[in-house]
């Protein structure tokens, strides 16, 4: 028996395979180049193109993003003499160039407004986009619109970076600084698939710049009026060593002055509520006082306004840290786009610390000890 026919067939198959492989490569390349003209922030639907046609390259030369006035001034102070009015470098008021990029101060005559800008290179955004696609896009979407394949149906929904609306950035400004965003990504949001991401600082910096570039024009980090700030400053803990006192004080503020019980559950009996608030014996509080009340948020998914469940601290997992310090930051800065206001200047720092201690005691005493919780709740509800 001759093996020649078999060999011939094999060779032919191999040839056909190679040719079609080469063709696929060619098509893929063309499609990519053709699509590359679109800016990543375009408003196209992520489903308009097959995934292989999505370009990973960010096309425009440089992007102007707002780093925040606070950061800008800090840098200018840290490195005196760096700021220059050199006309050959800057059209406007001036700026400086360093290894990270170009920073520029502009003046808008119509608005009589100084704005602070960072020129981010397309090369950096391309690096950021590549990492974004690998690590983030399954939930946040190829276009960063918060509607990735794995993020669908998920509640709370993954953030869209086109809405410039961030919940747990722990800043009192509208938008978080790079450092605040980096800490958020490194720590993750507990109880959600947003895990603590163990990426290098370089990767995270690139990803953060890319995320910022997804803001639609004239909004988010591409808005000259954007107010950008770091993580809210916490005063030294005034209750250090006086934990029990702090918890008692926190309970009073929670059910009294700060009215936390309007959205979160009330954790005391009605009698104790009246006592704390100094109300008359016939005063009633909201229905189902020991349960949270659903609240509207400013965040849309597929055009549907999202509702937010304020956590019951004895049941739900809080998202961004359970140390007293973490809780202080969350309460002080509030949760953007939700019914949770910023308490930083509405309450004294000492009172916010007391609230943090109180919430911490609820988590430790009941969330982490479900057996105790049942008895505690039954006591409140008179069951």
């Amino acid at each position: 028996m001759s093996k020649a026919p078999l060999l011939g067939v094999g060779t032919a198959l191999l040839a056909v395979g190679l040719v079609s492989y080469a063709n696929v490569g060619q098509e893929g390349h063309e499609a990519e180049a053709g699509h590359g003209e679109h800016a990543p922030a375009s408003d196209e639907s992520p489903h308009a193109h097959a995934p292989h046609a999505i370009s990973l390259d960010v096309p425009e030369d440089t992007w102007l993003l707002a780093p925040g006035e606070e950061w800008f001034e800090q840098q200018a102070e840290l490195h005196p003499g760096r700021f220059t009015h050199d006309d050959s470098l800057f059209d406007g008021e001036g700026g400086w160039v360093d290894s990270q990029g170009v920073y520029e101060l502009r003046y808008d005559e119509d608005e009589d407004y100084y704005s602070y800008w960072q020129h981010v290179s397309a090369a950096q955004l391309t690096r950021g986009r590549r990492d974004f696609v690998q690590f983030c896009s399954s939930c946040h979407g190829f276009q960063g619109d918060g509607y990735g394949r794995s993020g669908q149906y998920l509640r709370p929904a993954p953030r869209s970076f086109k809405q410039s609306n961030f919940k747990f950035t722990k800043t009192t400004a509208d938008l978080p600084s790079d450092a605040a965003l980096m800490r958020l990504i490194q720590r993750g949001l507990q109880g959600t698939p947003m895990y603590p991401w163990d990426l290098s600082e370089e990767q995270l910096t690139d990803i953060i710049q890319y995320i910022k570039s997804l803001s639609p024009e004239e909004s988010g980090w591409r808005d000259q009026f954007a107010e950008i700030g770091g993580i809210v400053e916490s005063s030294p803990d005034p209750w250090s060593g006086r934990r029990d006192e702090a918890i008692t004080k926190g309970e009073e503020i929670y059910h009294g002055k700060a009215n936390c019980y309007l959205c979160h559950p009330g954790y005391v009996t009605v009698e104790r509520m009246r006592e704390i608030r100094g109300d008359a014996d016939n005063v009633q509080y909201r229905d189902m006082l020991s349960y949270p009340a659903l609240k509207e948020s400013d965040y849309d998914v597929l055009g549907k306004r999202q509702m937010i469940m304020p956590p019951d601290f004895t049941w739900h997992q809080v998202r961004s840290g359970t140390t007293v310090q973490d809780l202080f930051e969350t309460i002080a800065s509030g949760i953007k786009g939700t019914a949770m206001p910023q308490w930083k200047n509405a309450l004294k720092d000492e009172e916010i610390w007391a609230l943090a201690y109180y919430v911490k005691s609820l988590i430790e005493g009941y969330k982490n000890e479900p057996g105790n919780r049942a008895a505690f709740m039954a006591g409140l509800r008179g069951e």
Binding site: S150, Y291, K304
Partner: protein
């Protein structure tokens, strides 16, 4: 001594063994010492085997595992002993000449055939029969749809998390009081738990080692799984199918609660789910029709 320039005399078995022992002896002793220290520590030794099974049929799996381990170890030992005997008996020595044997004489062929058939019939068939029996009597013996007490769970996997949905107190999927959780599953002890498993994106695998269960979740298909927890506790859940960058982080906890505590938990979780339910947010209502 005189002929060393012509090449060494053949080294005797004893001499060679002595030389090897000298070379490896110290390493071997260090290893032995380490191993006995580990055993003496106790805690290390406890972890050499898998955890005690926590499901009703888990011990079947373990028996099969130990049966296979024993059969394989014994066969391996027999082969080793025969090899050792052959090496000693037919070692090179002065006056004995090596010869090449193709091993295809009738005698050799018969011997090979008998050993192969015996090994296959005794070992493989034995394992196969027991495995099939276990599958039929346990793993594939799904509780009937109308069997009282069956607790049904819908599992929707994604990169890189587990979404669980249970019926809540009203006993129906797709209603306001469905309990939806991420990466944590609460189940009652002593009731059969039945799963419908599927995936949003890529293939994942639902693996709870303590329950001795593992099943793939395929996008576009609904797979099934069941087990019954035999003891309460918290058990780790893993994804056992490489599913992308954060596969290693894709885990969760299975909380097995005793019946009373579970009922209380379910009632509370259901009530909270009802409060959180947003009828207009239809995208979040991902329950599917239960498949038995």
């Amino acid at each position: 001594m005189g002929d060393t320039t012509m090449g060494t005399d053949f080294e005797g078995w004893g001499a060679r063994a002595g030389r090897l022992a000298a070379r490896w002896g110290r390493t071997a002793w260090a290893g032995l010492l380490l191993a006995s220290a580990a055993v003496a520590q106790g805690e290390v030794a406890d972890r050499w085997g898998p955890n005690e099974p926590a499901s009703t049929f888990g011990s079947r799996f373990d028996s099969l595992f130990w049966l296979i381990t024993t059969l394989v170890s014994v066969s391996f030992l027999i082969v080793l002993v025969m090899l050792f005997l052959a090496v000693v008996r037919f070692r090179a020595r002065p006056g004995s000449k090596a010869h090449y044997d193709r091993g295809n004489s009738l005698h050799d062929k018969r011997f090979t055939a008998v050993v192969s058939v015996t090994v296959f019939v005794v070992l493989d068939a034995w394992v196969l029969v027991i495995a099939m029996r276990d599958l039929r009597e346990a793993h594939w013996k799904y509780p009937a749809a109308d069997e009282p007490g069956v607790y049904e769970v819908e599992v929707l996997a994604q990169q890189w998390a587990w979404n669980f949905r249970t019926k809540g107190v009203d006993g129906e999927f797709g209603t306001a009081d469905d309990i939806v959780t991420i990466n944590e599953l609460h189940i009652p002890e002593g009731r059969p738990i039945k799963f419908n498993l599927t995936s949003k994106d890529v293939i994942h695998s639902f693996f709870v080692p303590d329950m001795r269960v593992k099943r793939d979740l395929n996008p576009g298909a609904i797979n099934m799984l069941w087990f019954q927890a035999a003891k309460t506790g918290t058990f780790d859940l893993f994804c056992a199918e490489l599913c992308g960058y954060a596969h290693y982080m894709m885990g969760g906890e299975v909380y097995v609660l005793e019946s009373d505590r579970f009922d209380a938990w379910e009632q509370e979780a259901s009530r909270l789910a009802e409060i959180a339910y947003d009828a207009e947010d239809t995208e979040a209502h991902w329950a599917w029709d239960w498949k038995d």
